[in-house]
């Protein structure tokens, strides 16, 4: 007990203080510790929940990122497929247009050929007619001088003989 005296402490005072301390301790425990513990527990739970939420959010983010990547990959694949389809469709359309144009041009060429042939035939006919007209005019001018008098006489006699045989007048 000497060391207490050296420290300037009274034995009874120390006991009283210890008793006070204990009383205060129990009072505080009874009044504050439980609510405080409850608050701390709640806070702890919130933190744990926050961490869990954060973890879930992280996982969700990662999953979302993965899904996003998947979606992007799928979209890219679909887009590429669509582009390929469009390219094929465009190619088919182009080929069809080219084929149609080819057919149409062939038809046009054939029509033009047929028309040209028709025109040629018409022209040929016209030329023949013209040449016949010209020939007729030339012949009409030439006929009177074609035969000399003795020949004309022979032709006339033959014609009269034929008419005599036919008895043309009734």
């Amino acid at each position: 007990m000497e060391f207490l005296k050296e420290l300037g402490l009274e034995k009874y005072l120390l006991i009283a203080q210890i008793v006070n301390f204990l009383i205060l301790f129990f009072i505080l425990k009874a009044l504050f510790y439980k609510p405080l513990k409850k608050v701390l527990d709640e806070r702890k739970e919130r933190i744990i929940k926050g961490i869990a939420d954060a973890e879930a959010a992280r996982e969700l983010r990662e999953r979302t990122a993965k899904e996003k990547d998947g979606i992007i990959r799928t979209a890219r694949a679909e887009m590429l497929a669509m582009i390929e389809d469009s390219r094929k469709a465009a190619e088919e359309i182009k080929n069809k247009i080219v084929d149609d144009a080819k057919l149409e041009s062939e038809q046009m060429v054939n029509d033009a050929k047929a028309q040209a042939q028709e025109e040629m035939k018409k022209m040929e006919k016209e030329i023949k007619k013209m040449s016949l007209d010209i020939s007729q005019k030339i012949i009409q001018n030439v006929i009177p001088a074609l035969l000399d008098e003795p020949e004309k006489d022979i032709v006339l006699k033959r014609a009269v003989k034929k008419l005599e045989e036919k008895n043309i007048y009734e």
Partner: protein, 119 residues
């Protein structure tokens, strides 16, 4: 008087060579305006029908003329000869509404016509 009577009257008038005074008087006194018109048309036609137009390229000789006359022997027709150099040769005979042509020109024209049809 109907149309066939008028036609017969016109034929008789022409066959006699001239219209007798009795016929003239009858026609002028008895026929109506329309009958007279019809009679004159028949007369004109009969006169035309009584003539035969013979055309040759050159002048026919005696033998040919005899041949032509032989064709119309016994027919009451008047032969009218003329020359048509453009026939080239042969003969063309026109009577009533007929045209008989045996000439170089007709031959050539027939050939040209055939050619035209074949074109």
């Amino acid at each position: 008087m109907n149309d066939s009577d008028l036609k017969e009257l016109a034929r008789l008038s022409v066959s006699e060579g001239s219209v007798s005074p009795d016929v003239q008087r009858y026609v002028l006194e008895k026929l109506s305006h329309s009958e007279l018109k019809s009679y004159l048309l028949h007369l004109k036609r009969e006169i035309k029908n009584s003539k035969v137009f013979i055309r040759t390229a050159g002048k026919p000789d005696k033998e040919t003329l005899e041949g032509i006359n032989k064709i119309f022997e016994g027919k009451k027709v008047e032969l009218n000869f003329s020359q048509m150099p453009k026939l080239g040769g042969g003969i063309q005979i026109e009577y009533k509404d007929n045209l008989v042509e045996l000439s170089l020109k007709a031959l050539v024209e027939k050939s040209l016509k055939n050619l035209r049809e074949s074109v």
